[in-house]
């Protein structure tokens, strides 16, 4: 029995020498090549979460509406009237760095299958994207946007939201996080379980090829010069086939012969069969000779590790396959019985009449190691901000506003989202471009609000606060539509955790998230971790992307960001402080990336949310918009631009404690810009007292300029040129 293996061999399967020894111990023998590949891929960070597991356990995952938390293909939330929302966010960062179009396309394809496997019909896609600055990163930006559109548009699921950010740290390691939202009747939820010995394992959809072998291991290594050679580890998508697969699965719902459905994603057949068997407390026997191939001469190793897209594992009651085969025939989908559920607790793989691999299922799943490392906080003096050295009054408030509106991270992404079908499904009641998007459940009055958020600059400056802000801001985006935030799917994008600073970031981020989740009563029901986002030793900012879902019982009461009616009052909800640390204003006017991000008073934050929801439910509001990057003035300008209406404001009340730049451009949390008819004012004031929320009258809607009397007046056309023009002319042309 040998307990060592060459370093080259181990690197190929992304295992350490110590891990190899554990494998030999667990099996009581040395694994053969197929077994080593299977264990390697399931023990990879991407599949096993071996480094992040201890942190993930700290995140709250239960709540009154939670039907399914982490551990299935996607999380499930009860949204009322017998309906459930199924959703999950997932990263496809490394494939997108190497092959942006297919990397992004298959990222969308993979997350759609996760949701479809739960029995849900996918009804919306959101994409959270991060690149290096343009124009240098244009090929990645272009490729990713085209790939998302190419897949989502063809498959017929609307892309309704997301974010696009440009920061230096993502130059060689873009982030592509895709979220899918689906709906299903609660009594028709499917589970990814292989149970009942003798029941059959059906492989449905695409034939298996050599594409994507080692994709999961690839995702668990840093990118370097050799990464280009891993291009074969990137899969190729076929959205047409996926569409047929989704429709076929929809027709399978309610068929009693179906025991379970499991998507084939990272680590292909190995992961799908092992996870389904593990959940069912069973074993499985598969015969590789029955797996339909698209290439000749594939070894068992290649078949087991292939990440060919558009495949599903369907577990069917033995003897009842005839009930469901007509569905696949109708959709012209290939289907093959590749094996069966067993009671021996092993995953046994046969090929050409011989056993090619035989591993206890728990070795593949539960026995994956956990890594506990040592974190170290970076130098506290790093990025310290001396605000007193910054002049408190901007040279030109109007000039700063126009610069902010034209900043690629704030400017309208219209030129991106018009490349995505946003409306197919006849359910999109709030389209992209405002705070959260909203999908109605057709035939009901239920609206589902959805958003993704993360300001990673805050996270770089202080990962604890940055994580809390990401959750608070996502919640504000949901609340601004009148919907109540109900659950989160998170995508934790970090650098190499072997670096003590990155490990510390993971610790800080997850404790910040856990506290924010508890304070705002938001469970995390699904998610994904992407580590090793490093290039040549440089890590990305910690980027915990928060995908959030909200529910409104009557979508007719929804609110949008744009000012709606001339003569309405414009108010600010929440107090403002000198919160300039990490602000976009300091970057564009003083070239500073420093300071402490704004504190989040979670109780105050929650009060502001409750206030807004009460005001919206009472029908007192006509618009609401979250105040985030660029502060109050950017939020006001956006509300003007989206509503195509100006606003007239008297001079702002100042106080000795509040700096002028912070007043206009500070990024204090817990704030909204709202508008309401004059008749609502008494009730809005009553509610503010009851919820202990500060509100301040800013001005009146009307005219064709954003005006602060005696200070400045900027015509809407100038604001629009900056906001909409940024991506359509000049330096950041798409």
């Amino acid at each position: 029995m040998t307990a060592t293996l060459s370093a080259k061999k181990l690197k190929e399967v992304a295992l350490t020498g110590d891990e190899y020894k554990v494998i030999v111990d667990l099996l009581g023998r040395a694994p053969n090549e197929v077994e080593l590949g299977m264990i390697g891929v399931l023990w990879s960070e991407h599949c096993s979460y071996k480094t992040s597991k201890p942190f993930l356990r700290r995140l709250p995952s239960s709540g009154a509406r939670v039907i399914q938390g982490p551990g299935e293909n996607a999380g499930v939330i009860d949204v009322g009237e017998g309906w459930a929302v199924v959703f999950k966010i997932e990263s496809h960062n490394h494939p997108s760095a190497i092959e942006p179009y297919e990397g992004a396309a298959t990222g969308v394809g993979g997350i759609l299958r996760d949701v479809a496997a739960m029995g849900a019909r996918p009804v919306a896609i959101l994409d959270s994207l991060r690149f290096g600055p343009l124009p240098a990163s244009r090929h990645l930006f272009e490729g990713v946007v085209s790939g998302i559109g190419g897949y989502g548009n063809c498959v017929g699921v609307p892309t309704v939201g997301g974010e696009v950010y440009f920061e230096d740290c993502y130059a060689d390691n873009p982030l592509v996080n895709a979220m899918c939202v689906g709906i299903v009747r609660i009594d028709q939820l499917q589970h990814a379980r292989a149970e009942g010995p003798g029941n059959l394992l059906l492989l449905v959809g695409a034939d298996t090829g050599r594409d994507g072998i080692h994709g999961a291991s690839f995702a668990s290594l840093e990118l370097d010069d050799s990464s280009e050679e891993r291009r074969p580890a990137v899969q190729v998508g076929n959205p047409f086939l996926e569409k047929c697969l989704i429709e076929a699965l929809q027709e399978l719902i309610g068929q009693p012969a179906v025991v379970g459905i499991q998507d084939l994603g990272a680590a292909g057949l190995t992961s799908a069969v092992a996870e389904a068997a593990s959940r069912g407390g069973s074993g499985a026997l598969i015969d590789l000779d029955r797996v339909p191939r698209r290439e000749l001469g594939m070894s068992p190793y290649e078949v087991m590790l292939s990440e060919s897209q558009e495949r599903m594992l369907v577990v069917v009651e033995r003897g009842r396959q005839a009930e469901i085969l007509p569905v696949f025939e109708k959709w012209d989908l290939h289907v093959a019985v590749i094996g069966e559920v067993t009671e021996d607790g092993h995953l046994t793989v046969e090929a050409e009449g011989r056993v090619a691999a035989r591993i206890p299922v728990e070795v593949l799943t539960d026995k994956a190691p956990t890594r506990i490392l040592q974190g170290r906080a970076p130098d506290a003096a790093r990025r310290r901000l001396d605000l007193d050295a910054v002049p408190p009054v901007p040279e030109s408030i109007a000039g700063s506003l126009l610069k902010l509106l034209g900043h690629p991270n704030i400017a309208s992404k219209r030129s991106v989202f018009r490349r995505y079908d946003q409306q197919v499904g006849n359910a999109t009641v709030i389209r992209p471009g405002g705070d959260a998007a909203m999908i109605r459940i057709n035939g009901t009055s239920i609206g589902i609000a959805m958003t993704t958020d993360c300001n990673s600059r805050y996270c770089e400056l202080d990962p604890y606060l940055g994580a809390q802000i990401a959750i608070a801001e996502a919640a504000r985006n949901i609340v601004a539509t009148g919907a109540r935030p109900v659950a989160i799917s998170d995508c934790l994008n970090f650098g190499n955790p072997d670096k003590p600073e990155v490990y510390w970031q993971l610790e800080e981020t997850t404790s910040g998230m856990a506290n924010a989740c508890r304070a705002l009563d938001l469970p995390i029901v699904s998610g994904n971790v992407s580590l090793y986002n490093d290039t040549d030793g440089r890590s990305i900012h910690p980027t915990p992307v928060i995908g959030m879902i909200g529910v409104i019982d009557d979508y007719h009461k929804r609110l949008e960001a744009g000012f709606a009616v001339d003569g309405d009052f414009v108010l600010m909800v929440g107090a403002s402080g000198n919160d300039l640390g990490g602000s976009r204003y300091l970057e564009i006017e003083h070239d500073l990336f420093a300071g402490r991000p704004p504190e989040v008073d979670l109780l105050g934050e929650r009060a502001a949310h409750e206030y807004l929801l009460a005001a919206a439910a009472g029908g007192h509001l006509r618009s609401a918009h979250d105040v985030s990057e660029g502060g109050m003035l950017v939020a006001l300008a956006e509300a003007c631009l989206i509503g195509e209406r100006g606003v007239r404001c008297p001079p702002l009340a100042t106080s000795a404690d509040l700096r002028t730049d912070a007043l206009y451009f500070g990024e204090t949390q817990g704030r909204f810009v709202i508008s309401a008819p004059s008749r609502s004012m008494p009730e809005l004031q009553n509610l503010a007292r009851r919820h202990r929320v500060e509100i301040q009258l800013l001005g009146l809607i009307g005219g064709d300029a954003l005006e602060f009397e005696g200070e400045f007046s900027i015509p809407l056309v100038e604001l629009a040129a900056a906001y909409y023009g940024a991506f359509e002319q000049g330096g950041v042309q798409t």
């Binding site: 063809c154 017929g156 047409f240 047929c244 490349r419 409306q423």
Partner: protein, 233 residues
Amino acid sequence: MRFGVVVFPGTWSDRDCGWVVEHVLGAELEYLWHKDRDLRDCDCIILPGGFSYGDHLRCGAIARFSPVMESVVDFAAHGGLVWGICNGFQILCETGLLPGALIRNDVCEFRCEWTNLVVEKDDTLFTSGLGRRDVLRVPISHGEGNYFADPATLSRLEQHGQVVFRYCRPDGLVVPEANPNGSLHSIAGIVNRAGNVLGMMPHPERCAEPELGGTDGLRLFQSVMSSFTGVPV
């Protein structure tokens, strides 16, 4: 009256069209599977949007060979109402029920956005409830909606008044800036000579309810319904 919505593999506007027919318009609905030849006594056949057969080879190129299309061609030849929307328009051109072709948008990108359409022809069964020069707000969603035909075909279309919709500004003026995809003569929709086959790139089924951004699309469905039943909308 009964609408038939054809479903090819890869079609995705079928359920949206069905929703409008059944729940907004309140008409009868049948889904027609591409492998079936039976049109089930439908009075108007809708070929909806999507990527039929993955739009492999060329948009609509494979759909024209499907069994259901044999029946649709026959139905149209006998004066039946056939309405192609988006991919459906592409299929009608491939089938030869309408002249010309839809090629890649001149912007070389997929475009999903609201457009304004000026009604050029109000004497078809599809537009009977509209007025000439009415401006409709209807969204598009396509990568290949750039209408192209040779000069002789184009001049015949114009001469016979077969252009039903053109892309325009909100005030009805037809200008190049309002043309989202480079279509010749800003063409958004045409009918055949007999007036019973309409093809259009914009999606009227996506604007049949105020919650979804507008109701101009519903006016087309209502036109078909009232011209067929004789009951004014």
